[in-house]
């Protein structure tokens, strides 16, 4: 068996120190703080009280449920639309560069700015979307002010915002597929649908697995979109409260860092579990 050289530690030290201070220490500190009560300047050990509090707090469960609904709906919907658009741009469209730029635009625009525009579009009284819906004699819901619509509005916003990154990555993956596959398929008379399902999709699986993981983890940590869409609050009646919003609120605004950290630990375990499940699933798909 090969022995690690001692000198290697010296070269690793800068990276190790950075990782310890900025990644590992915060995790450990969060874990310790989750067992402490009181304000940030004078925290005292208080056992499992923070965990007991969050498990009893209806807002916490609401936040976790919202986050899960958002993650499990916005991510798959976003991915499906991204695949469709990427495939469409890749195979059927001229002036690809123009469309690629168009689709990538949202990625380089600030979420807060997009949120402000979405607020105008979705406004129940003066909004463009409801104006169009009414013109077509369709029901025009109050997207922002009706608490039961908040999560749906957030999903629409989230899906739209996620398309840019997904499409660009998928276009790259599509370009990497060996064109000979399609030439051969054409020779044997395969239809467009067959080519998509038998060649394109299997070739895209590794990219999709990557996007699924990144998007899911991102979705679980959603905060900025909520802030942007609902003007700095978590929707009417806290109806769009998400886990990270809950954590931020408890930490910074309410001033109970212990409670916030307990919620952080729970969210961390939750994301860990979902990621584990997803990896298992991907392994099965790949094999």
């Amino acid at each position: 068996m090969k022995q690690n050289q001692k000198k290697a530690w010296l070269f690793l030290a800068p990276a190790l120190i950075c990782v310890t201070v900025f990644s590992i220490w915060p995790i450990i500190r969060a874990f310790i703080m989750s067992f402490q009560g009181g304000p940030l300047i004078n925290m005292q050990f208080n056992g499992f009280a923070n965990y007991v509090y969050i498990f009893k707090d209806p807002d916490f469960w609401h936040a976790i449920l919202n986050t899960a609904i958002y993650a499990f709906l916005a991510v798959p919907i976003g991915l499906i639309i991204s695949i469709a658009l990427a495939w469409w741009v890749f195979s059927k469209i001229k002036h690809q560069a123009f469309f690629k730029t168009m689709f990538f635009m949202p990625y380089v625009t600030s979420t807060i700015a997009i949120g402000i525009v979405f607020r105008y579009i979705l406004n129940g009284k003066y909004g463009m979307l409801d104006f169009c819906l009414r013109a077509m004699h369709l029901p025009a819901p109050d997207w922002l002010d009706d608490p039961s619509m908040s999560i749906i509005s957030l999903i629409i916003f989230g899906v739209w915002a996620s398309l840019a990154f997904n499409i660009v990555i998928l276009m790259g993956a599509l370009r990497n597929i060996d064109p000979n596959y399609y030439v051969l398929a054409d020779m044997y008379g395969a239809s467009g649908r067959e080519k998509f399902w038998r060649i394109t999709m299997p070739q895209l699986v590794p990219t999709l697995a990557f996007l699924l993981t990144v998007n899911l983890i991102g979705a679980f940590k959603i905060y900025t979109q909520v802030y942007a869409l609902f003007n700095g609050v978590a929707g009417q009646a806290n109806s769009a409260m998400t886990a990270v919003f809950y954590i931020y609120n408890k930490f910074q605004v309410v001033g109970t860092p212990g409670v916030a950290m307990a919620a952080t630990v729970v969210l961390f375990l939750f994301i860990l579990f979902v990621t584990y499940l997803q990896r298992k699933l991907m392994k099965k798909v790949n094999s």
């Binding site: 310890t20 450990i28 408890k250 409670v259």
Partner: protein
């Protein structure tokens, strides 16, 4: 195998170190030296002031500050904008951990600083107020309105000096009220009937009235019924339900409305979608701008006995030299001077905090804004949210609880279940 053992050892050592660090980091608050207060600043002194003022407010603050610096060449006031109120609150909260990075003075609501006061990180302003050279000689001589000064106390100690304060006022569309023959309401009963009349006579096109702050609506509604804002409020009790139902009934029937995600009703008001609304006196500038020449608006005292005193005070942190503290206090005193208060009030819409200015003819006869003429009446009975543990959190939570209840009312559903759910949330906010 060997590597993993090493890693475990390092992790255990790190945890042990962190454990000791975490345990040893309480206490250590620097006690106030309470040395003699300097009455003259002869050395160059810098005072850092954290604030959350934007637009016209920030501009006015800057110009007042530069006037002060001209008069006191040894003192530099460094104004540092920290964003909106919640951002400022978050910044103070997180900086309290490393007191050296705190500013000399900051704008704040007393509720934000309860922990700081407990940890002795704030300066008691009383000796400064009572100092006849730096301060006024006594609280009475300061001429600051008593309730406002009291509102800047934390657990009975005068840690703050009121600065940018506001109260709630009723803003109404005069043309619409005249058109429908409705008098300006002076109490909640009249408000309801006025709103009903407007809604009916306009065939449902114009909503009668609404309240910007649902937290204030509830807290003042309860206070008018003799119930103070505290942990002991029975959210499902008869008083509480009466306050909630008054508004919810109106929403269900269409003559009342809430601000929703816009946050303020001034937008709907200027678009003549609502005839009256209760909002902060500091918002008159926005109303004026929105209304333009479309119609005439009027301002009246909030149609209730009690009114909420809102807005922040200035607090001083227990850090820096005696000179810095004295200079900071001189600056605060300057801001409360008669001319400065008049400028501040006229340019920002905030209310003056000294009696002489509130009652002065220069202020009352202001032709630019309509709040001044009504202010004295509107401030007859002031109330503020008590500064106790979690009161700030419970007060904020009320807003979302009310939104939940009123959303049900708007859809015509029964809202009793939302009141029950609200009770749990309300108690949860108090008990964290």
């Amino acid at each position: 195998m060997k590597f993993s053992k090493k890693l475990t050892a390092i992790a255990v050592a790190a945890l042990a170190m962190l454990g000791t660090a975490a345990c040893s980091n309480n206490g250590g608050s620097n006690s106030d030296s309470n040395a003699k207060i300097p009455t003259k600043i002869s050395k160059k002194t810098t005072v850092v002031f954290w604030h959350a003022m934007t637009g016209a407010q920030e501009k006015t603050l800057k110009s007042l500050t530069s006037d002060f610096e001209k008069k006191n060449p040894n003192i530099t006031i460094k104004l540092e904008n920290q964003g909106k109120y919640p951002d400022l609150q978050a910044k103070i909260n997180s900086t309290l951990q490393s007191p050296n990075n705190l500013p000399t003075i900051t704008q704040a609501y007393p509720g934000w600083l309860l922990d700081a006061a407990n940890a002795k990180r704030l300066v008691d302003m009383t000796p400064y107020i009572n100092n006849s050279k730096i301060g006024w000689g006594s609280a009475k001589k300061s001429d600051i309105r008593e309730e406002l000064l009291k509102g800047a106390q934390i657990k009975g100690t005068q840690y703050g000096i009121p600065f940018n304060k506001s109260v709630e006022m009723l803003t109404y569309n005069k043309d619409l009220l005249d058109k429908y023959g409705v008098k300006v309401p002076t109490n909640m009963k009249e408000l309801k009937s006025a709103a009903q009349t407007i809604y009916k006579k306009s065939n449902g096109k114009v909503v009668g009235a609404g309240f910007d702050s649902l937290s204030n609506y509830y807290v003042l509604g309860m206070k008018d019924r003799g119930v103070n804002f505290s942990k002991n409020i029975n959210f499902t009790g008869s008083d509480s339900k009466a306050v909630i139902n008054y508004y919810a009934d109106g929403i269900k029937k269409g003559y009342f409305e809430t601000a929703g995600s816009a946050g303020y009703l001034s937008g709907d008001f200027s678009n003549q979608k609502i005839a009256m609304f209760v909002g902060t006196s500091a918002g008159e500038g926005f109303v004026k701008m929105g209304v333009g020449n479309k119609f005439q608006y009027g301002v009246a005292p909030r149609p209730s006995k009690y009114n909420m005193q809102q807005g922040t005070d200035i607090y001083m942190f227990n850090k820096g030299t005696a000179d810095q503290k004295a200079a900071a206090f001189m600056f605060i005193k300057y801001l409360l001077g008669k001319q400065q208060q008049l400028t501040w009030a006229n340019k920002t819409g905030y209310i003056p905090v000294t009696n002489s200015v509130i009652n002065s003819s220069e202020y009352k006869d202001s032709t630019k804004t309509k709040v001044p003429a009504q202010l004295n009446k509107a401030m007859a009975h002031l109330y503020s949210v008590p500064v106790v543990k979690n009161s700030n959190a419970a007060y904020t939570q009320l807003n979302s609880i009310m939104q939940g209840i009123f959303a049900k009312a708007k859809k015509g559903q029964n809202w009793n279940s939302a009141i029950d759910a609200g009770k749990t949330k309300f108690q949860s906010a108090w008990n964290q």
